[in-house]
Each structure stands twice: as C-alpha cells, then as structure tokens.
C-alpha cells in the first residue's frame, strides 16, 4: 500500500463498522492525544526558557506574563484535557465490557468529552489571550488579584474549569448508573450487594472469614476487581470535582463583584484554611483517583495479559478500600512548609498517613508482578512492555514523594523541581501514561474491530524514546531541584543550564515519541477513518460483547 493510500484509508480500519460505544471512546482518545501534544509543546517551551539566554525561542516566551500563563495551563491541559479524557474514555468502555452491560448513556458520554474539550480550550484561551496566570494551585487570593490579571481572563478561565468539572460529573453519573443498573449478570443483584462489592467490603469479609476458618463471604464477588477500582477511584473523582468547582465559584464571585465595581474584601477568606480545603480536593487527584485507578488498571492488564486470576485478589480488594481512606487524609504533606499548619496535622496527615501510600502502591506493584510471574512464559508484547514501564514509573515516583513528605526533607525540597520532576512528571509521563498506553494496546483491537497497527517498529521506537526520555527528563529536573532550583520561578540566566539542557534533550525525546505514536495511529486509521470517528454511528449499541479471555490467548507463547 502506498504512503498516500495509507494516510487516507489507513490499514484496514472501517469506521462504519464501529458501534456507538466504540466511536464515543475513540473521540475522547483522539482529543486526549491532541491535548497531549499541546501539553508536550508547552512543557518543552518552559524547559527551553530555563536553559538560559541562548535558547532558540522568540523572546516573548521569556516574559513573566507569558511564561507563567503557559505554566498555568500546562497542568490544566495535561491533567484534564489529556489524562482525564483518556481515563474517562477507557473506563466508560471498560465498565460495560467487564460487566457485560450497556453503558448507561452514550449521549452523556458525548457530553463528557465535549464538555472537557471545550472547558480545556477555554482555560487555555484565558491564559493565551488575557495571560491569566494564577497557576493551578490558585493560592488565595492570587486568582482574584485583579491588579495583576484581567478580570475577564479570570472569568473565562473559571468557566473553562467549571465545564471540565461538569464533564467530570457526567462521567461519574454514567459510571455509577451503569454499575448499578440491574440488567444482564446483575439482574438479580440488589443495590446493597453491588455497594458492598464496590467498596471492597466483600474482600475484607472474605479475609476475615479465612482468618476464622469459615467459608468465604462471597465466592464470586458481584463486581470484577478492576470495576471495584473504578468504582472506588470515582468516589475521589467526585469529591475532587466538588472542591475544584466550589473554589472556582468562589473566585468567580470575587471577579464578578470586581467587574461590577464593588470589589469584595479578599481578606475575608483565610488563606491557610483555603489552602487546606483546596489541597484536600486537589490531592484527591494525585493521591486518590490516580493511584486507585492505576492499581485497578494494573490488575486488569495483568489478568487480561495472563488470562489468570489475580494473585491475592481479596488482599487487593481490601487494599483498594484502604487506599480510599488514606487518600482522604494525606493532604497535609502539601503544607509541611506552612508554619501556621498545626504540627499534629503535619505529623499525622502529612507524614504518617502519607507513608501508607508506600504500602498500598507497593502492594499493587507486588500483586501485579506476581500475577505476571505465575503465568510465565509470556510474549513480550507492546502491552506487557508498557505495563512494565508503568510499574517502573510508579516505582520511581512514589518513593520520591514519600521522601519529601517529611518535615526534615520538606524544608529543603518544598517547591523545588524535585517534586514536580522526580515525582509528578515521572508519575504522570512514565507511570500513568505507560499504563494507559498498555491499556490502549490491549483495547486497540476491541475498540477498532481488529484494525492492524501500521508499524510495530514505530511502536517500539515510541516505547523506548518515551521511556528513556520520560525517566531522563524527570531525573535531570529532580537533580536541579536538589541543587535548589525552584519549580514556580523564572530563571533566565541559565543558572541551572547543564541540567536543564539535559532535561530538554530528554523532553524532546518524549515529544518526538508522541509524534511517532500519532503518525502510527493516523497511518493505521487513515484521515478518512479519523474523520469517520466523529460521524454518527450506524450501530447504536452501547456495549461490547467480546469475552476478556480472548485477549489473554493472544499473549501465550
């Protein structure tokens, strides 16, 4: 097949054969990867600015207003526009797939990706046009500081974030409505049974009965373990959305009063109390839903790849419950440098409970590795490679954060590049995204009706460039943090030049990897197919019937 033919028609992709669930999933995936490209370019701009005066970028990128407006939207586009979209799309496909029930509403799923896409675009426009730049932390009263920012920019930004949160609520409703629907295999289940299973209480009772030498409480739990993880993680997604939306409403009220000529007193809101409230919610993204969703995804991928039951499944179910409780009580590790924060909260929430994440994430890593090990020999497929890459990512990133969640270490690491690079970027780029790429390779034949990937060589190049680039960028950035480089600061004189150049080289590898991945996908589905994904589906089905066991057969040597 010629290049032109491939580019237009893809390999063997036929968008007309896709049902409504497949199409809505792919729409969100496409938007997610487009936003990923945007966030990678933004990241590279910031990285290049930090290399010093000899950087090749136009001077405007080094202006504080411009630089910090990029820094403000970078996490919004990355976390919400890209990651949320991809995760929500995967889960709105997986829940029907795993429960063998239709998705509650395709219309609502369409609303979710559209709302998040428009919301992210609005937030980006607010930063680009009006240079609204209070950063994602929104530390009070900076987002309402109209001496530094245009009021209209703030209003557009908040409306954008609110739309993202509305889309998030749509996802949550769709997931729970699907899980609690008493149809198919759940026809005879009560809401109570589904709730007990969803919270992992059946796993705990099974462990308890085993210790007492009694029969298990439930031999066949109502919900599969990955669905339990989705159920559990979505609780944190909901709480997080409530907090972010309410903070947004607060900022909006102040901005609207300011616009009306009667500004409110920003001192009426206690900055430290606000920080506690906001970090409690924001931390539910990092330490709540991400860790729970990732653990669930690892379990799903390990069982799909091996075709075997998960090692120590009851422990895994119980650990997910523990992770939920832990995620509600760890926010103080963000406030260890705040001297007004009570010492007991720093000690208990910031240090001790946070340390439990080492246990819960370590447990997930162990269970996943043993499940894979027990099924060996396995083929080193792309999905297995990416899964191992994801394990490496979290294996590096979680201890990096636990180390800093300490009153001694925090004094010299808080707000440095250590936490944002060695922890956040490695957790997201390597840990989370490699897990998501693994899921993508597993689900690719199912969601696209067995479309042949254009080039496995390009898939491999993508993997290695991405892994080395992601780890390298995080490592060099982390080293700069140890050398005192701040994370929310503009360095224009090349103060950390060598490490920033190395980080920029690695960042370029990540960007190139993304371009290669995108090229591979476009050559697989073709431009026609890509457009076709956004056309209405002829088959209105909202479920997918392939048995998960079929996937495992593809991985046996």
């Amino acid at each position: 097949m010629s290049f032109k033919e491939n580019l237009i028609n893809g390999t063997n992709f036929d968008h007309k054969s896709l049902n409504a669930l497949q199409k809505v999933t792919l729409r969100a995936v496409v938007m997610s990867f487009l936003f990923y490209g945007l966030v990678a370019i933004e990241g590279m701009i910031m990285r290049l600015v930090q290399t010093g005066p000899s950087n090749p970028l136009p001077e405007m990128f080094s202006h504080p207003e411009h630089y910090f407006s990029i820094m403000t939207v970078h996490p919004i586009v990355g976390i919400f526009g890209s990651t949320y979209q991809l995760v929500f799309a995967a889960f709105m496909f997986l829940v029907p797939f795993l429960t063998k029930k239709p998705l509650y509403s395709i219309k609502l799923a369409n609303f979710v990706w559209l709302s998040i896409t428009i919301g992210t675009a609005l937030a980006w426009i607010a930063a680009f046009v009006w240079q609204y730049a209070p950063l994602y932390t929104l530390y009070w009263p900076l987002p309402a500081d109209t001496t530094q920012f245009a009021t209209i920019g703030g209003i557009v930004f908040i409306i954008g974030v609110a739309l993202i949160m509305l889309g998030t609520f749509g996802f949550i409703y769709n997931i729970y409505a699907t899980i609690f629907a008493r149809v198919g295999v759940h026809k005879d289940k009560t809401t109570k049974e589904l709730l007990i299973s969803g919270f992992g209480i059946d796993g705990m009772l099974n462990l308890w009965n085993k210790l007492r030498g009694k029969q298990p409480y439930s031999k066949e739990p109502a919900l599969a373990l990955p669905v339990v993880a989705i159920f559990r993680g979505t609780v944190d997604t909901f709480l997080d959305a409530v907090v972010i939306l309410s903070a947004g409403v607060l900022v909006l009220v102040y901005l609207l009063f300011d616009m009306g000529g009667s500004p409110l007193d920003v001192g009426a809101i206690d900055a430290l109390l606000y920080k506690n409230y906001f970090w409690w919610g924001l931390d539910l993204v990092a330490d709540g839903l991400v860790l729970i969703y990732v653990a669930g995804s690892w379990y799903l991928l390990a069982t799909l790849i091996t075709g075997q039951k998960l090692f120590m499944e009851n422990v895994a179910r119980a650990a997910l419950m523990l992770e939920l409780l832990v995620s509600w009580m760890v926010w103080s590790h963000h406030l260890l440098a705040d001297q007004g924060q009570p010492e007991m909260m720093k000690l208990i929430s910031g240090e001790m409970v946070t340390a439990f994440e080492l246990l819960t994430q370590g447990l997930a890593l162990f269970i996943t590795l043993v499940t894979l090990w027990k099924a060996r020999p396995l083929k080193m497929t792309m999905e297995l490679k990416y899964l191992l890459g994801g394990l490496v990512g979290f294996g590096l990133a979680v201890p990096a954060a636990i180390i800093q969640a300490d009153m001694g270490m925090n004094r010299v690491l808080h707000n440095t590049q250590w936490i944002i690079m060695a922890h956040v970027h490695i957790a997201l780029i390597v840990g989370l995204y490699m897990t998501l790429y693994s899921a993508l390779y597993v689900l690719w034949p199912i969601v696209t009706n067995n479309t042949k990937m254009f080039s496995s060589k390009l898939s491999n190049i993508h993997f290695w460039l991405y892994l080395i680039g992601g780890v390298g960028m995080g490592a060099f950035g982390g080293m700069a943090g140890l050398n005192g480089m701040l994370r929310r600061h503009l360095y224009l004189n090349g103060e950390f030049n060598t490490l920033m150049i190395l980080a920029a080289i690695c960042g370029t590898m990540v960007l190139i990897a993304w371009a290669i991945f995108l090229y591979n996908i476009i050559m697989s589905v073709g431009i026609k197919g890509l457009i076709g994904i956004f056309l209405p589906a002829e088959d209105k089905s909202a479920s997918y019937g392939i048995e998960p066991e079929v996937i495992a057969d593809n991985h046996k040597v």
């Binding site: 240079q131 900055a271 007004g340 439990f356 590096l396 009153m407 270490m409 690491l413």
Partner: protein
C-alpha cells in the same frame, strides 16, 4: 549520623535515591527478561509476601524516625516556640516587595539560632535562603491573614547556622508575574542578605 546542614543532607539524598532508582529499574528489567523465558528463573532472593509488607511499613515509618534523629531542624521546628533565639528578625511583604528588611547585611556567628518572622499583607509568598551556588539552605511559606484583632499572622522559622557562607534571600512561592521586572529579573531577590561567620572549614564552631 547527624546532618549539620542541608547541603550534607541533599548530597546523602542524591546518592541514596540514585542507588534506589538503579535498583528498582534493574528489578523490573530482570522481571521483564525472565517473564519471556521458558527456563525456570533463578531467584536472586526470595521475598515472602509478609516480609515485603513488613519492609514497606518499616521503610515508611523508619524514614521519619531516621530524619527526626538525623536532621536537627525537625525537632527544633516542632518545639520552636519554647526556644529562645539568639536573634530575631521580623519583616513583611506586600505588592511583591519586602518591607522592613534590615538595611545592613545580617551577620550571624557560627552556631547561633536565628528566628525569622515574616508576615504578608496581601498574597502567599515564600521565604528562602540560598547559597551562592544556588542550593537551598531552608525555606517556608509566607501566608497572608490576620487574627481577630487584625494583627497579621506570623510565619516564623528558627534556624541554627553551622557553616560559614553568604546567603541570598528570595521568595520561594509564586506571587504573580509582578514579582518579576520587565526583562524577567526577580524583584524579590535580595543578594547577600546574610552572612555566617566563625565556623570551621567543615562546619561547627571553632
């Protein structure tokens, strides 16, 4: 083992985390390699499940016990309101400016414990001391706010200086683009803010 300043701690941390990183990457790579092999893999070490869990718990808790005992500023920070400092410096921040900073460079004798109390009249700022090589001596957040009587909230930190050096002051928290000049210069950077004298070459009083 006790760290007498942050430079020693950060060097130790660099080495320890690099070793850990090499270890975890090697373990997963070893797993990946052996997952595909038909031959029985020889385990380098067998780790029973509950030993692994005990190791994680010990690691999580032990890390804090270690730092509490090895990093002197942890206990000092917790009990700072019961400690009388050798000197105190109090100043404020507003509209991306330091207000009331000492006019002369602060001179600290080796081993002295100094209190810094910084108040903010508007936004969240940071207070950080940096060595000339750019590395961080210490820092804290500076939150705005007042008590019921309208008195600005304190953001206080106590620090004992055991090594000679001239330190710069800068805000460690972003307070908006107005904290920078037109060409990106840091308006909150105070060069040569303080100097510590009288220590031995490798730290500690002469």
């Amino acid at each position: 083992m006790t760290f007498s300043n942050s430079a020693e701690l950060l060097s130790f941390h660099w080495v320890a985390y690099s070793i850990y990183s090499a270890l975890i990457i090697s373990v997963i790579a070893w797993f990946g390699y052996n997952l595909t092999r038909k031959e029985k893999a020889k385990s380098i070490v067998r780790i029973p499940f509950y030993t692994y869990i005990a190791f994680l718990v010990a690691g999580g808790v032990g890390h804090h016990i270690f730092t509490y005992n090895a990093i002197p500023w942890v206990s000092q920070d917790i009990t700072r309101h019961d400690i009388t400092p050798d000197a105190s410096y109090k100043f404020q921040m507003e509209k991306q400016k330091w207000i009331g900073l000492p006019k002369e460079r602060i001179i600290v004798q080796c081993g002295q414990t100094i209190e810094f109390d910084v108040q903010s009249r508007d936004l969240v700022y940071g207070f950080g001391l940096f060595r000339k090589d750019g590395s961080l001596v210490m820092q804290m957040q500076v939150n705005p706010g007042t008590d019921v009587n309208g008195i600005l909230d304190s953001n206080d930190i106590l620090w004992t200086f055991n090594h000679n050096g001239v330190f710069d002051l800068r805000s460690t928290e972003y307070s908006g683009p107005h904290a920078y000049g037109e060409h990106g210069e840091d308006l909150l950077l105070v060069k040569n803010f303080m100097e510590v004298k009288g220590c031995k070459k490798d730290g500690g009083k002469k």
